[in-house]
Symmetry: C2
């Protein structure tokens, strides 16, 4: 430690993959010089102190109070995850300790309450690690866009979903095989539904909407559509139109209201987002003045997340050492804002129909769309295995529409006797 430098005490709640990686980063030389504070890890809460850990055993405790009650601990690092962490984080803030967390469920669910506690106590609540692992998206929205108005965010925030769609496209796998492969590689959980059904991405979008649009998003309020309806044939048709299917989160600030949605969507194949493959994450933000700004990197994993966590710790510690605790959090402002009815979400759409090929089917399809004022931009019709359709046999009709509200497009897909399967519908996002 450098002479005369202020000490900043750090306590960890949890010591799993992220916690252990954070301890390793905190032990590296040079941090004190860069921070203006000597960081001292004083206590690490674990469930089982017998398991071998990444730090001095004398620091381990199974009692949360040993962390929260230590007056020399200025920064509490919450890396235990899950909802059980909520009361501990709230108490730490009330005790005037700054908190760094990587817990997206907690921030998505209780962000408003926790940020208010932090503000009242004049301490920081930092959560870069809660969204997009190692990607500095919280920092970018909070700081780089501080002087601008964000109009749109559009991102790939679930690595498992992105891996699965990438493998369907590039490896020709069906969804079940791609999910199995992701599980074998450790990208997907044993129960992949939180990822594949879009809920994980929706939690992250809620947090980003708070930072980007100042919107308080009630937990569970983001309309979500998972990947399960995407079939290999959709990738081939998307490619034929010059697009790729990606698992997107989309947020738009319309002024009067905010539009949020999570779904697989077509993005132009030459766009940067289309080229974000595998387990990587990316977020494109658009500012009124700044225009587009994209950040991209590893969206999960112990080490990348730990970098976000420890960089937050350094920020917070720097403020504490300068006698300005709470500096980073004070600027986050949000309020209840109207969320746009998902039916009003306007986009171009990719539609796929499986129909019996008989005279007049195309005319009837076009009529159904026309009745809802949905206009067709491009259309492809093929029979089985890409051959021209045989009369009476099944045919696939795929189209891209011009922009229309989701509700009208959905109404235009009403069942008809010539449809052999329910139609498929994916939005196109121009990025």
């Amino acid at each position: 430690m450098l002479r005369g430098m202020k000490r900043v005490g750090v306590g960890l709640l949890g010591c799993g993959t992220v916690g252990a990686a954070a301890l390793a980063l905190l032990a590296k030389p040079g941090l004190a010089e860069r921070t203006g504070a000597a960081l001292e890890v004083r206590r690490v809460l674990v469930r089982d102190p017998e398991k071998s850990r990444a730090c001095d055993r004398a620091l381990l405790t199974t009692d949360p109070e040993a962390v929260l009650g230590d007056p020399a601990i200025d920064v509490v690092v919450e890396v235990m995850g899950g909802e059980a962490a909520g009361p501990l984080v709230a108490r730490a803030l009330d005790l005037k300790k700054s908190v760094v967390t990587a817990n997206k469920l907690l921030v998505a669910k209780s962000g408003r309450d926790l940020l208010e506690r932090a503000r009242r106590a004049h301490v920081d609540l930092a959560f870069e690690g809660a969204v997009g692992g190692g990607i500095p998206i919280v920092r970018t929205l909070r700081e780089a866009f501080a002087s601008d108005r964000v109009t749109r965010i559009c991102g790939i925030l679930n690595g498992t979903s992105n891996y699965v769609l990438t493998r369907m496209l590039e490896g020709g796998l069906d969804m079940a095989a791609a999910v199995r492969e992701a599980q074998e590689l450790g990208y997907a959980e044993a129960d992949p539904s939180l990822d594949i059904d879009g809920h994980d991405a929706a939690h992250k979008l809620g947090i980003l909407a708070m930072l980007a649009f100042g919107a308080e998003v009630p937990f569970g309020a983001v309309p979500v559509e998972g990947l399960r309806s995407v079939e290999p044939v959709d990738h081939r048709f998307a490619q034929r139109f010059g697009y790729r299917i990606k698992p997107l989160v989309v947020g738009r600030d319309h002024g009067d209201d905010v539009e949020l949605r999570v779904h697989p969507a077509l993005v132009p194949e030459k766009s940067v987002l289309a080229n974000v493959s595998g387990a990587l994450n990316a977020v494109l933000c658009e500012g009124e003045a700044l225009g587009p700004c994209l950040v991209y990197g590893r969206g999960a994993g112990g080490l990348p997340t730990a970098v976000s966590v420890v960089s937050d710790v350094l920020d917070v510690a720097r403020s504490i050492a300068a006698g300005a605790a709470g500096l980073g959090t004070g600027g986050i402002r949000f309020a209840a804002r109207a969320l746009r009815d998902p039916g009003r979400a306007e986009a171009r759409y990719y539609l796929r129909f499986t129909v019996r090929d008989e005279p007049g089917v195309l005319a009837r399809l076009a009529g159904q769309l026309g009745a809802e004022r949905v206009s067709i931009e491009q259309l492809v019709q093929v029979g089985e295995e890409g051959r021209p359709p045989l009369e009476g046999g099944p045919a696939t009709v795929v189209m891209l529409t011009h922009a229309a509200p989701a509700a009208r497009v959905r109404a235009a897909l009403a069942p008809a006797p010539f449809m052999l399967e329910p139609p498929r519908m994916l939005p196109v996002e121009d990025v």
Copy 2:
């Protein structure tokens, strides 16, 4: 202004495109609430107060002392550009005013001196706008990577060069026509050499190397190769091998020394960097723990640069209001570091030879390379207009080598009687 809120006085040096855009952003509502400080623009230095300006004429002055000597000005925003700004910025720092600048020439040339003055005076020197316009790359390196070690940076930092190469590839233009088009669109200066020859990108790389590797890079020390040797045929061959030619800056920290280079290079066509087109900029940073992290956006232009400038002003003002001026700058550490001899830069290389097609030419070429231990990975040989070569006629031989140091590759390109033109050589950067 909110009651009881600290006032932070702002003075501008210069009021051109960036300055006027910055004033417009500073006039927007809500900044005080987000910053915890009421920003007050007190003085704007201009050359000609008669020209219509973006602010109250009473604020205009032609005397720098009216800005520097005003004790109520806490933050000086330098957007006049050029080297003449140097003494004014130095004096502002010595007078304990924080400085925000978008002047890449100044930071590249005098960054070390100015940062030391800032540190001595306990004020900030912020310069997000000096590199990559609206891209938050300074912030990302300084903050997001604070807990990590950056091992490589690889970026597209000159929009004019990127536009020219993009148009050569996509529009089939030759370089002169692409440069003219860039000039007509306002992307390129009347004298485009600072851009096309790589010097502008080299200044920016010098600044990034300071932040990423803690390296003090003497002005002019970065080896630079411009675009002028790239011909349309090189784009076609690069594409055939699965690459695109991009104007890159590359920095690597080898521990013992730092490697810096600016040149057109081949990047894999599926990489995100290959898909950064036109006037956009991007920087890929790689951290030991974080892995890859890319930021992308508008690299130039009044508004995007002004967003970076005003976001810096808000950061600096927030620290001042909290009584912690100088907080952001204190952590920047750098030292003289050895720069690697450009001849030792190891890469795979793209080589193009124009040769007389006669028996044994390929064997002799392979022999020249083999003598320097440069090994060939792929090779294509074609005659005029892509036809098989005619004996005695000119032939083009294009190859990709395995990794080898630049000096050995260059030695292997020694003139030989069968070469009709000097060989061309471009590095391949795997990103």
